[in-house]
Symmetry: D3
Subunit: 119 residues, 6 copies
């Protein structure tokens, strides 16, 4: 199977992030900071905004972004059935074209659960 | 200006919805029910899911959908600064191409406020 | 309401098409010919390909394109319930974000029927 | 090469589908049924609607969905040149960004032909 | 016809921009600054980046954004046939779904030319 | 890691291209020629149009297309910081959903540099 494990995804993301920072472009660096900042507590709790990020990633159909936000959502304490309920909104809004990404997300959730239970 | 008022949007949506129902297609009717149902209380409160619907509509850039979800979000009790904070997530995820829709949303919010204050 | 009538849409499309031709760009002209040619009879009948064009326009959410293909589909002899059945596939694949375009399409179909019955 | 074989794709799809069903979310289950139902005979033959599903998947650029619909289209009896003619509509509507998915589809068709001829 | 004149578009954009600034959201303000900054001279001349913004707006199919970038491109000194050549790239990459936006762009160019020649 | 090397990507692209040509569909062949032609010198230099193709590929989020245009841009003599500046426009217009593709592009650039320096 070609699905990357969580550890491979994390390593790829970190290596990729390092390349973006090394590119040494001021606008790009500011964008990366803005991206991080938009999920911090504000008028809405950061926790809620992670869920928004997950749904946005689902309807725009980006597996890397889905994996990232799922991990953040698990850290923020969401239960699996809450995440499924959120992703169901993405499915209805975005249609059956979202289904392969929903399948991907469920496999990632399974890995995250295994990892959490592995201690 | 060509922006429809809220009342025009509501009338157009209702007339359009009636046409969909009259088309008398079983799958279509089921889809419409599924669409309504996905914003009802479940593992997540319906209130939270309205916010997810708003952000999904923003990143997919549909003004009609944005107007609908803004109205539902106002009914669900969200304050303007919370909605702006949610839409800012959509802006960061979806990019500057979302800006015209953010402007549209702010004008709609203004109308909804005027309407609420009009009593 | 801001929905253009069919006649206004046709006039706008023709005026716009004239501007594209006047631009006198060889690649653009070739693209326009390729666009026309792809709906002509080939391995599949042109009639079937008009339906494909309609569904592609629905999931990519372009009202101008939907109106154009609906008109071609009516000329090709599709009945209203067949077009609704085709657009239902677009709805399921593309999700609720397609609904405003489905409403738009039903209004256009109504106009096309009125026009056909007007003789 | 990283292209999954048809058998790997099928296995991944089935495992993923099982995870969706196990998630035990009523709305999600209903969506999956609606998705299956929309390709059954209705005002249009199911066979025609499989072709619509293929073109919708091409313009929305989802390889997993393309593979699924190609397989259904082959089962429904479409010849290779008919599928190429349908996908050419997707190419013209969706542009050169569709080309990598067209290449992917041709490789899948080759595998499906090899499989069919393997008996 | 429902196409807004350039003056109406400018007025709507300014009024909308004012609403975004008044929303008084730090992240949003930073995004707006980042958006402005990315078209300034850098490793590439700002002039070239306006053309990139135009093509990005075309393939993502946003008329408001197209109008804005066309105006900036005219100010930057591009001739009409250069802009047509750039938009032809967007047409090939993005497909026939871009055509209605290409027509819109040609009408806007006509208005911009009339305005420039009006003195 | 699952990222294909440049050589694997090139081989896959060539094999896929051959399948498209073998499909022997006149419209498809014409589209492929139009695609090649649109990056040749015209009102704009081909070199500028390669950059437009890169940015269009970034905002539409297609890694295969990004790799192809990066390679053409390097051949056309763009420096790395110019390409980063162009891709930053894509990032701002297209949003954080573009980030995984920006990371991918930086890895490809690294490979292209290694290849160029390998002589």
């Amino acid at each position: 199977m070609t699905k990357r494990t969580i550890d491979e995804s994390r390593a790829a993301r970190e290596a990729g992030h390092a390349r973006l920072v090394e590119a040494d472009h001021l606008g790009l660096k500011r964008f990366l900071r803005l991206d991080t900042a938009c999920y911090e507590d504000g008028a809405l709790p950061g926790r809620t905004k992670e869920l928004l990020g997950l749904v946005a990633s689902m309807v725009l159909r980006c597996n890397d972004c889905i994996d990232y936000h799922l991990e953040q959502c698990i850290k923020a304490g969401y239960a699996k059935d809450e995440l499924v309920d959120a992703m169901n909104v993405a499915l209805v809004v975005g249609g059956s074209i979202v289904i392969p990404h929903f399948r991907h997300a469920m496999a990632t959730l399974e890995e995250l659960e295994a990892e959490a239970g592995g201690g």
